[in-house]
């Protein structure tokens, strides 16, 4: 009886030429068209983001975004099943584990002084469709500004669409008696921003911004500028690519002084496939972020699962009821 493995061996031995021909058929298409019509999780934006000298909606925008998307493994195609499909954005959900230092304003923080440092274990689950993120941190005091001796702080901060809440445990508030979900409506914008300033979020949002996205060059580096949208419509993003076309730096600004927490600067480096299951999705191994000039995060990524894992973010009923917008 010819088993699957036996058939495979037979066909591999006798049919490599045929297989090569099949493979060639997948590569037959050519051409240099750079135009594309696309949008991502963010909606149409209204704010102006770029300087006047940059090009508007040019083929260079399309080319740059495609190159950046391919550099991190976001733009991909599949020929499995005999298909000849275009490249699409294949990233939806991912999970990040890391460790490092986070900083928060302490009870005695004064302007100009460094914030309190915490040794931090970091775990983020996120998705772009729908836009959602759950950040779980266990923080212990460390460094010169630490009072010392405090018990570790364990927090779970979650956001989805226009809802933000804090969970006492993963999935709290969805089943009666299973943990507490505390609405945090004031945190929606800040938590959503963390999603869209990740390298993948930047590319998705830049594509979604359409003709508002600009490409320029600063000190020899390619810069992508665009406005965010929805609740973050007042935020302008400036992303700088490195020599490998990976996003090395993301800066956000807003003219609204009440939202200084949306003024951020994040540096990404040490890109690699950090997944236990290889995906060819490259992610930064080192993330350093400032918020309104203060260091807030210095994270080394231990592992990143980009294989679109099962991550869901149902909004607890009490959070829906408490959120009036």
């Amino acid at each position: 009886m010819l088993t699957r493995t036996g058939l495979t061996r037979l066909l591999v031995k006798s049919g490599l030429i045929i297989a090569a021909l099949v493979g060639l058929s997948f590569l037959a298409a050519g051409g240099q068209s750079n135009n594309f019509k696309s949008s991502a999780g963010a909606k149409t934006a209204s704010a102006e983001a770029a300087d006047d000298t940059a090009k508007s909606n040019s083929p260079e925008v399309s080319k740059t975004l495609k190159t950046a998307a391919e550099a991190v493994g976001l733009a991909r195609w599949s020929g499995v099943g005999g298909q000849r499909l275009p490249e699409v954005d294949v990233i939806n959900t991912m999970e990040i584990w890391g460790a490092g230092t986070t900083y928060s304003p302490g009870p005695s923080s004064k302007p100009g002084e460094p914030w309190q440092a915490f040794k931090t274990e970091y775990h983020a689950a996120l998705g772009y469709n729908p836009p959602a993120m759950r950040v779980e941190m266990t923080r212990t005091t460390s460094g010169a500004s630490a009072p010392g001796g405090a018990a570790p702080q364990h927090t779970i901060e979650t956001v989805r669409d226009t809802y933000a809440w804090d969970e006492s445990e993963i999935g709290a508030g969805l089943i009666p008696g299973k943990g507490t979900a505390t609405p945090a409506p004031a945190a929606v914008s800040n938590r959503l921003l963390q999603l869209w300033i990740l390298p993948y979020g930047v590319i998705k949002a830049a594509v979604a911004a359409g003709d508002k996205t600009r490409i320029s060059t600063e000190n020899g580096a390619t810069v992508i500028s665009f406005p965010l949208s929805g609740l973050l419509a007042e935020v302008a993003v400036k992303a700088t690519l490195d020599a490998q076309n990976e996003i090395a730096k993301v800066e956000t600004r807003t003219d609204n002084p009440a939202h200084a927490d949306l003024m951020t600067e994040t540096e990404y480096s040490d890109y690699a496939d950090h997944g236990e299951i290889a995906t060819d999705v490259k992610s930064p191994g080192h993330i350093v972020r400032k918020q309104n000039g203060h260091p807030v995060l210095d994270l080394r990524v231990k592992m990143l699962d980009a294989n679109n894992p099962y991550l869901v973010f149902p909004v607890p009923e009490n959070v829906k009821k408490a959120t009036t917008r």
Partner: protein, 316 residues
Amino acid sequence: MTRLFLAGRSIVTAALLCLLPAVIFAQNNGGPRMDHENTLPPTPVGATPIAPDGHPDLTGLWNGLADNLLGVPNQMHNVGIEVGKDTTRDIHSGVQIATWPLQNRQRQNNEQNERAATLLRRMGSNRPIYKPQYWQRVKDFDANSNEEDPSNNCMPAGVPRMGVPSYIAQTPTYLIFIYPGQGGLIATATSYRMIPTDGRKHTDLEELDGTWNGESIGHWEGDTMVIDSIGFNSTSWFDQLGGYFHSENMHVIERLRRDGNTLTWTATVEDPDVLLEPWTTTPRVALLNPDPKAILPEALPCSERDFAHVVTKEHH
């Protein structure tokens, strides 16, 4: 980082080669097309045939999109992502997804191709919402699906994971569904279902031995065939991907509607033991095989021998 995936290349090569007869068949007979440049659902053509009892006649070979033909399911049709020439849409959420045209795509080798396919199959937003205590289990099952997937090792996929039947025969009192085994790409067994439509009631759940396909009973709601199934084992998963396990209390409602030469299938899964809420698959649209002489080819014998050689968790 080098990862050996010894079986992967042979499986991909075998899958590609298994497609060849279908491609030739399509070219010679105007039959199923394999060279998809999009995953858009087919547009219905022609009149819907009516059975003597006045209901639509579902009889036919529903592999016109090459789904299940020679055991190679066209999974991109089934994951809820509608890829067009230069636009892509998540059917469930309606979100537009960035797309770059075929003519300008970068090269990928077989290994990269397989990894991309894995991402594509899992990027849809239509996911069942489990109770929080089961979220990690679902993730673990999916991450370790090479070992954990119950449909591997020649086991049945079960209802509703089997999806759209490749062949339907309709009589006044029964529906016969045939699902050819997937020996070429995923080692599953050939299955059939005999579904009464004579108005009988379900057996008491307590009296049913849990099975892969459960006890199915069909009835018409207008022009839609509704198939209600209970009495499952808790071994199968209920969707193609994702580690979506269920309990013995799973209740499945399938809906099939014929429009001309298309058949639209959905399944709703109710399982209050593990799910927070019922979940419905993204509609799958099958195309009638246009060849009146078409038959289902014999499925390859199912004998799983590859998993002993799989040394990573990469999916295939």
